[in-house]
Every structure is written in structure tokens, then in C-alpha cells.
């Protein structure tokens, strides 16, 4: 799959970069990061213009991201009403919405940079959960800029070691995602532990 997508870069150039990055922002499983990295590499060899690669990837990221947010804002509330019928999910959704309002900007920025595989889902959640568009965009735009600059820049700088850099970045994403999952599970366990100890304290001897 990876080689097939990369083989399309010399033929379709920045149009391919635009399409793949745009669709990846909508959660279509396409290797956007490796493609932008490779396009940066092709810019270093002179096959593609660097400024065009950067601008195309950035515009595709912003447009795809805004579409994900807009779609979720339009359709999301109706979907959430369906889930809010159940008491347990309604409580969970309420908590998620509160968390989104409190830490939304930080979550959006992190998901658009270091945790980029989660980007489309956070954009959908932000739209559906009612995060203010201005707050979302003010965090999403710098995130998109950083992500695009890092991947294009790394591809350009390490054009001769593209596969090695792609592997390193993929392992780095693995560390960050698995680390983030561990933190979430620890927080969940901590909450359960407090509830458990409270229940023990309230149990008559």
C-alpha cells in the first residue's frame, strides 16, 4: 500500500499530496505523514518545488480539518442525542463535553501535532461536542502549520534517508500513542481506586 501510494508522487505530484492529506483529515486511512515526508524528499531532489509542497499540504490540512469540524457540528448533535438516551453514555458524554470546554484548545493542538493520528477524531469530537469554532481554529491552525513544516522539513533535510526517517517517526508515534493510552488508563484506574476506597470506608464493619 505504502509503495503504491509513494509511486504515485512522481506522476501526480502535489495534487496527490492535496488529496491524501485532505482525505486523511476526514479519517480516511491514508499514509498522509509518509506522503508529505516523501514529497519533501522529492523537493530536495528537485522533482517538486518545496514551497508548493508545503503550501499544498498546509491548505489540504486546513480545509480537510475544517470540513471534519463543520460536518461534525452539523450532524454530530443529532448523533449525540441518540447516545444520550442511555443514562451511562449520557453521563460519559456530559463529562467529555465539560473536559472539551476546559482543555479543548490544548487537546486540539496536541492532536494536530504530536498525536496527529488522532487528529480527525478530535476534530469530529470538537465539532459535535460544541467547541467554539474560533477556539478550535486558533488551536488547529498553528497545529497544522507545525505538522506540515516538520514533515516537509524532515523529508527535505533527510531526503537520502527517507525510509529510515519514516520508520523513526512511525516508532515515535507508537511511543507517544501507547504512552498516551497508558496515561489515560492510569487516570481511569486512579478514579476507580478512589471510588473503591470510598466504598470500603462506607461499608459497615
Amino acid at each position: 500500500m505504502m509503495d503504491t501510494v509513494l509511486a504515485l508522487v512522481p506522476d501526480y505530484g502535489v495534487m496527490l499530496v492535496f488529496g491524501v492529506v485532505f482525505l486523511a483529515c476526514l479519517a480516511v486511512p491514508l499514509p498522509a505523514s509518509v506522503l508529505v515526508l516523501t514529497a519533501g524528499g522529492f523537493a530536495a531532489t528537485g522533482d517538486l518545488p518545496l514551497a508548493t509542497v508545503f503550501a499544498t499540504a498546509l491548505v489540504a490540512y486546513i480545509l480537510g480539518d475544517q470540513l471534519a469540524f463543520g460536518l461534525a457540528r452539523r450532524i454530530g448533535p443529532a448523533v449525540l442525542v441518540y447516545f444520550e438516551r442511555s443514562d451511562s453514555t449520557a453521563h460519559l458524554l456530559e463529562q467529555s463535553k465539560t473536559l472539551l470546554q476546559r482543555r479543548g484548545s490544548l487537546a486540539v493542538f496536541i492532536s494536530h501535532t504530536i498525536l496527529s493520528p488522532t487528529c480527525p477524531y478530535i476534530s469530529y469530537l470538537s465539532g459535535a461536542g460544541g467547541l467554539n469554532w474560533r477556539r478550535f481554529t486558533l488551536a488547529a491552525l498553528p497545529g497544522a502549520l507545525v505538522w506540515t513544516a516538520v514533515y516537509t522539513g524532515l523529508g527535505y533535510t533527510f531526503a537520502a534517508q527517507l525510509e529510515q526517517v519514516a520508520t523513526i517517526l512511525s516508532n515515535f508515534s507508537g511511543v507517544v500513542l501507547a504512552g498516551a493510552a497508558s496515561v489515560v488508563v492510569v487516570l481511569l484506574l486512579r478514579r476507580r481506586w478512589h471510588a473503591h476506597m470510598l466504598a470500603v470506608a462506607q461499608t459497615p464493619v
Partner: protein, 115 residues
């Protein structure tokens, strides 16, 4: 201690998830360190040619003169500069391994002559 055991029994799935996520993070971290340590390993020089590469990409990765690469691959420097090596190999009825061997031989000869 008794409370901890009861807690662990009741939450064994979540604890299992925690152990699994830590193990996965550790595995990725080990791979990351190993890849970073071997970044400049000589094995990573003159890499196998891939179907998505272009002649200019070969010039860049093998650090060879453009004219030499175009000559070895029997390409027109202007008309064929964006051609994919996969298509080139297909047109010539060669495998990517054959193409890699051709470029590596030319690189060895060129570097030998330079020294």
C-alpha cells in the same frame, strides 16, 4: 493489601490494558533507539532502488553526478527526468534488483576512479 487484591480482581481488564500499553510503548521505544543508533550505519548507504524513486532521487541518495545516472539508466536528461524507476524497469523488462545492481556497479566504478 486486601483492598488492593480485591481492586485488582475487579479491574483486571483495565490493569491488563495498562500492562499491554506499557509493553507496546516500551517495544516502540526500543525500536526507536535502535533505529536512531544505526541511522548512519553503512548498510543504509546505496539503498535498494524502489519503484517510486526517480532518477533525480538516485542522484541525491547515491551522491552521484546527474549525467552519470542518466547515462547508466540510458535516459534523456530532459525528457525522462521525472520517470519512476518502477516504470523504467517495466519498460526494459528488468527487475528492481537488476536496476539496483546496475546503479551500484556504476557507483563503485565512479568512486573507484575518483580515489
Amino acid at each position: 493489601m486486601r483492598h488492593a487484591v480485591t481492586f485488582a480482581r475487579r479491574n483486571w481488564i483495565v490493569l491488563g490494558l495498562l500492562l499491554a500499553s506499557i509493553a507496546i510503548a516500551f517495544w516502540f521505544a526500543l525500536s526507536l533507539v535502535s533505529d536512531a543508533l544505526y541511522f548512519n550505519d553503512p548498510r543504509n548507504l546505496d539503498v535498494d532502488l524502489k519503484p517510486w524513486m526517480t532518477p533525480r532521487y538516485v542522484v541525491h541518495t547515491y551522491d552521484l553526478p546527474r549525467s552519470l545516472v542518466m547515462e547508466v539508466l540510458e535516459l534523456d536528461p530532459e525528457a525522462d527526468r521525472g520517470i519512476r524507476l518502477g516504470r523504467l524497469a517495466e519498460d526494459r523488462g528488468m527487475s528492481m534488483d537488476d536496476l539496483t545492481a546496475l546503479v551500484r556497479d556504476a557507483a563503485d566504478t565512479f568512486r573507484g576512479a575518483e580515489q
